[in-house]
Symmetry: C2
Subunit: 322 residues, 2 copies
């Protein structure tokens, strides 16, 4: 049997999976992402992490066919160069070479939003679709777009950046410096910001008790519990969030005409609490019924990235995915 | 010699061109678009228009290989069905069949934004590029997107609708019912609306004299003249318009990562008056220099549509475009 490794480099963890050529998971593990350490040290952590996982699965190095790598930043998948990885402070870094040298196998790097979209297309909610819009709502907002069965790459391979699409001129401040970006309106960060804002205005909320008044301790889970208990502030938070999400999604549906919209990331765990009002608002805003498409939660949750990374190897080495 | 006809159905005129298989224009003419007449009558006008043009060019019907047709509405180019043509009030109409029956040649229908993008790609400012974003600023805002050398079509073939991308929540009212759409912020209609608004606020403007105070008579040409003469209201109009245009363009550059952005339509005739500040603002708002691309005026002006329509026939019948 031969094997493929998929790595997902996140702000908190580096998640890795090893699958066989039937794409069944053999072993899977996460290690904490080294915080702003030298590149060499970070790559060493990644290489040892994969090495340990091979040992754990009793897999010999010679049976490893290749490694796929999801990168949280603008990445050219032809050259494996990441132009920027904001949270590591890295620019213009070849993300494959230090790993290729260590293992002696082909390494394929790609933007993490794209990798998530591939994961859901091959193994999750996107199976059977050729035109897929994936939005990841985590700390930030990630995006991957598949059109005609292929990733949308663009001229310099950095397309599908939906996070900084301005939807609300003069809206909430974004980390990018602009205001009213889709990310600053719709992300886990935006969700808890709305919760703080409404909790301050209307202090009669379970969020005050749950956080002992430290509103910066509000989590998605608290908002979810409050929503389910009929807390009016939590209801309002979800209502406003869904409105803004629907505006961004309608923009993207107009532009890409996807067959399915997949919402993943931490906020997606709110499920139909957010998706039901969002679907209603999107449908009411489309130009024509022919644009209508299902808006669903991702099926792979946090495994979309590593599985999509494995599919990069499949594509690069012509290994069929059944 | 064999020939191809290209038709561009516009709100004011139906423009038609006949080219030879070297894509040199033989004859070209416009007739007024029948205003909300029965479909049969409208198609009869189109067929006779093409017929007259063949006669004018001394071209026999048997030498006509096919007809391409640019449609101002959501159109599925696989079936030639236009889902909606707002200004004609038509829905779900096969745009090719009445023409095919009359001439007995293949007819290829496609959305007019897409057709404009094909025209500029094959014969104009987009030559040599595989990833092209075309924006037409006329009465409304049209869009065509080419990615990897192919039109972006989407799941039901109605992608690339950029006009109703919301960029300014609560902004100016759009004809579509939403507010702050790219079209309601950036089109010929928006340009003259800004001019009326600023003329009312600051009456010291050449626009008042040129229109005898009837601000609804303001034209793009008047704004251009005023701008060139240093009229402060006209300067302000162009400044605000360029700001909004840059917001929409940055959104689209983030999403599509084009190699070139082509601006066409009536407003494009303002040229560098609009494009110079727009380029500066876009460049300042990009996430990374790797996204940078030229923003240029279309080269074919109002011929992009008919030439793109001819290229539909070339693609459909495998006629090479050199």
């Amino acid at each position: 049997m031969k094997y493929i490794a998929g790595i997902d480099l996140g702000g908190t963890n580096i998640k890795t999976v090893i699958v066989n050529t039937d794409f069944k998971v053999v072993v899977s593990k996460s290690v904490p992402t080294p915080f702003q350490r030298p590149k060499e040290e970070t790559f060493s952590v990644i290489n040892h992490h994969v090495e340990n996982l091979l040992q754990e699965g009793s897999i010999e190095r010679k049976d490893l066919l290749g490694i796929g790598f999801g990168i949280p930043g603008l990445t050219d998948s032809r050259t494996n160069v990441a132009y920027n990885i904001p949270f590591l402070g890295w620019t213009n870094t070849n993300m494959a070479e230090p790993i290729r040298q260590y293992f002696g196998v082909p390494v394929f790097a790609e933007n993490d939003g794209n990798v998530n979209a591939l994961g859901e297309m091959h193994f999750g909610a996107g199976r059977g679709f050729e035109d897929i819009l994936l939005i990841t709502l985590g700390t930030g907002l990630g995006c991957g777009i598949i059109t005609g069965g292929k990733l949308l790459h663009g001229a310099s391979r950095v397309a599908a950046e939906a996070g900084h699409m301005v939807i609300e001129a003069g809206g909430d401040q974004c980390v990018c410096g602009k205001r009213g970006c889709f990310e600053s309106c719709c992300s886990g960060t935006a969700l808890t910001r709305y919760a703080r804002r409404f909790a301050i205005e209307f202090s009669e909320t379970s969020l005050m008790k749950e956080t002992n008044g430290n509103l910066f301790a509000i989590t998605g889970e608290m908002i979810q519990r409050g929503y389910d208990d009929g807390d009016l502030v939590c209801r309002k938070v979800i209502e406003v969030f869904s409105e803004k999400l629907s505006v961004g999604l309608v923009n993207l549906i107009d532009l890409f005409n996807p067959g399915i919209v997949i919402i993943s990331g931490g906020v997606a765990r709110l499920g139909d609490r957010v998706l039901t009002p969002t679907r209603r608002l999107v449908e009411a805003s489309l130009m024509h019924p022919v644009q209508k498409c299902d808006i669903v939660q991702g099926q792979l949750d946090s495994n979309a990235g590593v599985m999509g990374a494995c599919s990069l190897v499949a594509e690069g080495l012509n290994i069929p995915i059944k």
